[in-house]
Symmetry: C2
């Protein structure tokens, strides 16, 4: 499966876009989703829809339980913050930060890629609109790639593993425009950190605010309303 790429699919707007980009670049996509004890399990159903609509040839959902450690509003009983004024890095690392989340998810992607014989992993991290997370920065992705190339059979045998983070320097509006251009149906995605049981977004968490601003800046209507 050398033309196969592992694509991390959370069910959100960014990963739906990344899946479309990987497919446009000619990769067959093996989607990988995590059920990590988060409140917003609605995301898992969104991930299934996104992977299917995005033409993934395979979709694995892996359970990882970070609740044993605690430490984040997304995995513990800390309230998800609502209607924050300042979403920039100047405001510090948000309480919704999950410790080492991207490192853990990329590590599983690395295992999956190795089993598939794939040398390509796509991930929708983004350093612009949500730069409060340390593991969304370009130098972090470069360091993970360097480590990954020493960690695996492929690395030992001289085959190169590449971490693709095609959204890392894009604004939310640019991501949305690119996705719409590739035919992504954002009506299938779920972005909210604290959705209602029906799946309806709260409209007030950081993620909902960023999504609303992204569609507004792009001059497009969010199909989720």
């Amino acid at each position: 499966m050398s033309d196969c790429a592992v694509v991390l699919v959370s069910g959100g707007l960014d990963s739906a876009t990344v899946l479309a980009i990987a497919r446009q670049q000619g990769f067959r996509a093996a989607a990988l989703t995590f059920r990590y004890g988060q409140r917003h399990a609605v995301e898992i159903e969104a991930a299934r829809r996104v992977a299917q609509a995005g033409g993934a040839v395979r979709h694995e959902i892996v359970d990882i339980d970070l609740r044993a450690f605690g430490g984040s509003a997304l995995t513990s009983d800390t309230p998800v913050p609502k209607d924050r004024d300042d979403l920039s890095i100047a405001n510090g690392i948000p309480v919704t930060y999950v410790p080492a989340r991207n490192t853990i998810m990329l590590s599983f992607a690395l295992a999956f890629a190795e089993v598939l014989g794939s040398g390509d992993i796509f991930v929708g991290v983004n350093a612009v609109d949500y730069s409060g997370y340390p593991d969304c920065r370009p130098d972090y992705i470069a360091a993970f790639e360097a480590m990954a190339n020493l960690a695996t059979k492929a690395g030992v045998e001289g085959r190169r593993l590449t971490i693709h983070a095609p959204l890392i320097r894009l604004s939310k509006a640019e991501i949305i425009r690119q996705g719409v251009g590739l035919g992504v149906d954002y009506g299938l995605t779920s972005s909210c950190y604290d959705p209602e049981p029906s799946g309806k977004p709260c409209g007030r968490c950081d993620s909902c605010h960023l999504r609303r601003k992204g569609f507004a800046d792009a001059g497009l209507a969010d199909p989720l309303g």
Copy 2:
């Protein structure tokens, strides 16, 4: 918990030694064990004994299921090889290699360390007696540490995270001598890749052969016989 270190404890000989080394260096130890769908679940019970006897102040057991991906004799239905003549790297990467296993385990350790406010992770990787695994080499550990320092709040805030791999250049005999010097009870450990249901080692897998040779080279008797 700045004097606290996360110690990966598998229940084997190496990690029992590492726990003793971390304690000797003055750290309080938070032990971390993985249940990763392996056949040798006997290891989990060994890990509990080792963590308790080694004075760990906390012990978390995290489930990670690598079977969804397949790819190793330790997690799939491929037979564990017995009585191999050549255990060196010249013989290639063994089929018991679990894809990205150390990367996944160290990633969870990173999350645990971050939640504890700890800047130290101890891991019993060893490049000498079992150098067929790419993720047991010193340059891999250095690359993981570099990545980890970019991945987390601690890194962003200028606190240093260190991956300690004190066994990495030691022979099995040297590890055993050091552990015996620190009072480790190797009778509590389990090394076999394919133990009997009672926990009795098979005596014939690579791990059993290496353990036997280690005790013989150290001139010591294995309390497991």
